[in-house]
């Protein structure tokens, strides 16, 4: 009965009810779209960052974080890593050796970063082979070397030339070797382009004399959303290993995402704030214009609690309309752009292509985003209801009966 009454009361002021619901719908629509694009962008940034070599998670020796020393290593054996392979959310696991070495050709020398990689797995995930501008990519047993373009130019070497590495290996052993340049890679980021060289994992283990060990295992995931759980599973499987997620590995990226997200959230709350004022005005009007009617209801035997409940239901109907309209407009659009992402064009697109990224505006489809919008509307409603509810609680029947517009 109360619900029926509340429902009919809403349509006494059709236009006002619809306008208020629409403003909620609009805020929810815009917020949901914005947040979905934002989160989609972040996910894509994180994944692109991972593909640039960092991965989503890395397994490392606990001391490696601070020392980055070739002495703090993990086994590279299947016996070691097979536990990780059993975790469902893990997509690829790549062994890596990261080491520093002095390179010299003729009279020139320069520090380079040596990457020992499993060539096929590596290019499956990072598309390293696509960055080749001359020569050929590595194969598993390869003894040759790939140079970043900047390194090759510095030493003025090309495919087929010899390249000498000289540095410190495992536990102070000498790490020296002569390699034939098999290919030149071009990286859009200058630091990478001027510093990286690539060996097969095998060859890097020989160079640094690490035996069956690596500096890290780089992990990529099927679902970024489930990362926390995967990290936990990995940590349980490898209690003595440091399991580092992308936030730990790339704190700058995390910061930029947090900043961007916060500015988006501020925008969103501003929007809801404005809508909230309208909602408040509507709810207050709904209460004040019916003071007399409420007083009559109270006098004729309605308990105040039921009256509060009725106004509560009325306002939840408005909120519900807003949410349903807003979400049913936004969700199909989000799904559409999820399946048909907006393709970027112009300079930005070129830049992204160079970085090896797809030039699209990705969106995220996340029930959590929808649920959080609903929460915001719910909390906003509750806040807006406080004062009108208080007016009903303190409504004096005698003065209510005397005054107050009697809305028909």
């Amino acid at each position: 009965m109360l619900v029926r009454l509340a429902w009919r009361n809403l349509w006494r002021q059709k236009r006002r009810t619809l306008l208020t619901a629409s403003s909620i719908a609009l805020a929810l629509f815009l917020s949901l779209l914005m947040r979905s694009f934002q989160e989609g962008q972040y996910t894509s940034n994180i994944e692109n960052n991972g593909k640039s070599g960092v991965g989503i998670i890395q397994l490392q020796d606990p001391d490696f974080r601070d020392s980055e020393s070739i002495d703090e290593l993990l086994p590279s054996t299947e016996a070691f890593i097979h536990k990780a392979r059993k975790i469902d959310n893990i997509d690829a696991i790549l062994p890596r050796i990261h080491g520093f070495s002095l390179a010299s050709v003729g009279s020139k020398s320069k520090g380079v970063l040596v990457n020992g990689i499993a060539p096929n797995k590596e290019t499956d995930y990072t598309h390293l082979a696509d960055k080749l501008i001359s020569g050929q990519y590595l194969h598993v047993e390869d003894t040759d070397i790939l140079l970043a373009e900047g390194v090759a130019q510095y030493f003025n070497v090309s495919v087929g030339d010899e390249f000498v590495l000289y540095g410190q290996g495992y536990r102070g052993q000498t790490a020296a070797g002569v390699f034939t340049v098999k290919g030149i890679l071009s990286f859009p980021m200058r630091e990478l382009n001027n510093s990286q060289v690539y060996l097969s994992l095998n060859q890097a283990q020989i160079l640094f004399r690490t035996n069956q060990q690596v500096t890290s295992w780089v992990v990529s995931l099927h679902s970024l959303d489930a990362m926390a759980q995967t990290v936990e599973e990995l940590q349980n499987a490898y209690p003595d290993v440091s399991v580092r997620d992308w936030m730990d590995l790339s704190p700058e990226l995390e910061q930029s995402i947090v900043l961007d997200r916060v500015s988006g959230l501020i925008m969103m709350y501003l929007l809801y704030g404005i809508v909230g004022f309208g909602l408040f005005a509507t709810l207050l009007m709904m209460t004040l214009e019916r003071q007399r009617e409420f007083a009559v209801m109270l006098a004729t035997g309605l308990v105040r609690m039921k009256l509060l409940l009725m106004v509560f239901i009325e306002s939840w109907f408005i909120g519900l309309f807003g949410v349903v309209i807003g979400a049913s407009l936004a969700v199909p659009i989000i799904v559409y752009f999820y399946q048909n992402p907006i393709r970027l064009s112009g300079d930005l697109a070129l830049q992204m292509l160079e970085m090896g990224y797809e030039p699209i505006m990705p969106v995220s489809i996340s029930p959590e985003l929808v649920v959080s919008q609903i929460w915001i509307v719910a909390v906003m409603l509750l806040i807006c209801l406080l004062y009108p509810m208080w007016r009903i609680v303190t409504l004096d029947i005698v003065s209510g009966l005397k005054g107050g517009a009697h809305a028909h």
Partner: protein, 238 residues
């Protein structure tokens, strides 16, 4: 099951230089089943009295004992239960809920009091029949005339079987015909259901229909007499 007031007072602005004694040391007894008109000039305190007897206004001093309950000493909660179980209200402007049909208006409070749906329906239909509106049960107030609306309001007031009905100028907005009809109905219900009716009015025609007439001036009772012209309703089959 009577009403008795003892030195009942309602004073507004008591602490100012011009206190208003809306009801001034009133001693009054009304017996169960009476059909009482309260008359008096505007501002004489009729509404204030009815509100106090009905448990929606609080006396400043004195006692109002209604069916054994002392309204002056009741808690808010107690008043709610008291009103629910004892009092029906009728207002000058009908005050039906505009979004409910005539039938729903009559059922509404009963339903919220937890009576079964069948019980509410039966009682509401019976009352609508008594007030002659059974054919209009599904109309909303806006589609009814003022007189019809007020008859629905009478049915609504009686639905929870109150012992007393407080009607504050129930006929003020009605024409002569509707007024006569409404009074017929009220009197009939008064006789059939034993409900005590107390109604305030300015209208001479209404006063002649009352069983007892109480006259107010400045919050004080100036006349209280039985109406010699009062005729008991012959249980007509209208």
């Amino acid at each position: 099951m009577s009403i008795q007031t003892i030195q009942l007072c309602k004073t507004y602005n008591a602490n100012s230089d011009f206190p208003v004694h809306a009801v001034d040391h009133l001693d009054l007894t009304i017996q169960q089943g009476e059909f009482v008109a309260v008359m008096g000039p505007s501002g004489s305190g009729k509404t204030t009295l009815l509100n106090m007897l009905g448990g929606i206004d609080t006396p400043t001093s004195g006692d109002a004992i209604v069916d054994g309950y002392n309204v002056s000493k009741m808690t808010e909660k107690g008043k709610i239960a008291f009103r629910r179980d004892n009092i029906g209200f009728i207002f000058q402007d009908y005050s039906l809920l505009p979004v409910l049909t005539a039938l729903e208006n009559v059922e509404f409070v009963m339903q919220l009091q937890g009576h079964s749906e069948a019980e509410c329906r039966a009682r509401a239909l019976a009352l609508l029949k008594k007030v002659g509106l059974d054919k209009h049960q599904n109309k909303r107030p806006a589609m009814l005339s003022g007189g019809q609306q007020q008859r629905v309001a009478v049915a609504r007031a009686l639905a929870p079987r109150p012992k007393f009905v407080m009607a504050d100028e129930p006929t003020a907005n009605l024409d002569a015909n509707s007024t006569a009809e409404l009074l017929d109905i009220m009197q009939q219900l008064n006789e059939q259901e034993g409900t005590t009716f107390i109604f305030s009015t300015h209208d001479q025609r209404v006063i002649t229909r009352a069983q007892r007439i109480i006259v107010f001036e400045d919050g004080r009772l100036t006349k209280d007499r039985q109406n010699p012209d009062y005729k008991r309703h012959t249980m007509s089959a209208s």
